[in-house]
């Protein structure tokens, strides 16, 4: 019988990561799109790092940082009783960093492509930044938000290197599908690996297909894309 727990774990990880990143990503993207701070370029570079850095590098640094042997890990352990090495919590933190650009980039470019006068018009009508964001800006970049959500979700599902470094392969704790496939191949269980891989492949393809279909229909009705 095929062990289904990696699927649940993967889904849980992806949902939690996506929800948290949506909440972090919107204000961060707003700041990156409209902010005038001097450190903006530095923050942009940090956000984009996971795109080019080998996942093992990120995983390695996180492993070192979170390790109870080191000061930051020890601090988390003794003050908050939090252990991020080889735990599900650690996977969430790693995923947040690793998938950050996939949420931030689409939303930021969505905001940047909106005419600046929409925001300014709302301001001159007496609306706060928050009201303007919720009522005007976000509803007009739905395709970008959807793209961010799906890419983040799919990218988290497809994580391997970071998870392996910081989480290892503990069943029902850190053994996500991508790791399970690797384990099965190592154990020469090609049939099980095949099933895991096939499901992952199908899911990822459908998720992306869904985004493109929905965005296509958005584009047809959205005047800003004329």
């Amino acid at each position: 019988m095929l062990d289904l727990s990696p699927f649940w774990l993967t889904a849980k990880l992806a949902v939690i990561t996506t929800v948290i990143l949506l909440l972090i990503g919107i204000p961060l993207s707003y700041w990156l799109a409209y902010g005038k701070s001097k450190i903006k370029s530095a923050v942009e570079a940090i956000v984009s790092l996971p795109l080019v850095l080998p996942p093992s590098v990120l995983g390695f640094y996180l492993l070192v940082a979170f390790s109870p042997e080191n000061s930051f890990g020890r601090f988390l352990d003794s003050y908050f009783d939090v252990r991020l090495v080889f735990t599900f919590g650690g996977l969430v933190v790693a995923s947040l960093l690793y998938s950050l650009p996939f949420m931030v980039h689409p939303i930021r470019s969505g905001l940047k492509n909106l005419p600046i006068t929409l925001k300014e018009a709302a301001f001159t009508l007496g609306k706060t930044k928050y009201t303007t964001l919720i009522k005007i800006l976000l509803p007009n970049i739905k395709p970008s938000i959807l793209t961010g959500v799906v890419l983040t979700f799919a990218h988290t599902v497809g994580e391997f290197g970071v998870v392996l470094m910081i989480g290892g392969s503990i069943p029902e704790e850190t053994r996500v599908v991508a790791i399970a496939i690797y384990d099965e191949v190592q154990a020469m269980n090609y049939d099980a690996a095949n099933v895991y891989a096939g499901i992952l492949f199908g899911f990822t393809f459908l998720a992306l297909l869904g985004v493109y279909l929905i965005n296509h229909s958005f584009r047809k009705t959205n005047p800003l894309n004329d």
């Binding site: 005419p115 018009a121 001159t124 009508l125 007496g126 706060t128 005007i136 007009n140």
Partner: protein
């Protein structure tokens, strides 16, 4: 500082408006007209600014006072209309209402601007003139102290322009607004404004009524039209100058000296002293 095609130019200006006045800002593009509107609305920060409206200080650099755009009672009509695409016409106006504001204002404006039949349409289904009416109505919902119009009619054809000018006048008078219009369209300025301020490269060069600013004092003609030169042609010893005025091309004969002094695109007067115009009724 003003960033223009000719490099950085200082923008220095000081002017006063009476309550209920309709002032036009006139000048070439890059003269700083739009920047002035944006500074008044708080959308652009000037190096130093001192803005007082109706006894309230909106901006005072010396005292480090800067009111956010939200806290300035302005109505701003943008060149690109800036209607919210996710909201219907009615919702665009409702959005402008302050919390607990009287919804009857919106109904009144929809009626006045003849937008009732379009109330449930989205902006993308409206024509340019309709969009502009919505933008105007939306800017008035909050009953602003200052209405700022940034070349509101430049994207419209002439017929639409004339109609929209009537709407602007109607709104200006009904709500007793103080209005500042940016325009480089002389007929529009004559029709709408009672004062005009001419800007050039960030500096004010003339202020007064449109008549006094744009007419040379010496002309005492019986008939005057403002127009724009569209063509200069040499025919034998004289020149034929075509002027677009009041939607018609008027051909005027000029001597070589006169023709050399003007260029295509220049705004001019077409004046005639001794002739007897006839008025014919249109169907």
């Amino acid at each position: 500082m003003l960033l223009t095609a000719e490099g950085k130019l200082p923008l220095e200006i000081s002017f006063q408006m009476e309550k209920g006045q309709f002032l036009a800002l006139y000048g070439k593009s890059g003269a700083g007209k739009t920047t002035i509107l944006r500074i008044l609305a708080g959308l652009t920060k000037a190096e130093t600014a001192d803005i007082e409206v109706d006894g309230e200080v909106w901006e005072n650099s010396a005292k480090k006072i800067f009111r956010l755009p939200q806290k300035r009672a302005v109505g701003f009509v943008f060149q690109d209309f800036a209607l919210f695409p996710n909201l219907t016409v009615r919702e665009n106006l409702d959005f402008a209402l302050p919390k607990g504001g009287d919804k009857r204002v919106v109904d009144e404006l929809l009626t006045m601007m003849e937008l009732e039949t379009l109330r449930n349409s989205r902006p993308q289904h409206l024509s340019g003139g309709q969009k502009q009416r919505v933008a105007l109505a939306r800017a008035i919902v909050r009953k602003p102290k200052l209405l700022l119009l940034d070349e509101p009619l430049s994207a419209l054809d002439d017929e639409m322009r004339l109609k929209l000018q009537d709407y602007i006048l109607k709104i200006h008078h009904t709500y007793q607004l103080t209005t500042l219009l940016v325009s480089h369209h002389l007929p529009e300025i004559f029709k709408l404004s009672d004062q005009v301020l001419v800007l050039d490269k960030g500096q004010p060069i003339k202020k007064g009524t449109p008549e006094s600013v744009f007419s040379e004092d010496r002309i005492s003609s019986k008939f005057k039209l403002t127009g724009e030169i569209v063509a200069i042609q040499k025919s034998d010893v004289v020149y034929t100058i075509s002027v677009l005025a009041a939607n018609t091309i008027i051909k005027v004969i000029a001597t070589r000296e006169e023709a050399l002094g003007i260029q295509i695109g220049q705004k001019v007067w077409v004046a005639s002293k001794a002739f007897n115009p006839m008025i014919l009724k249109m169907e």
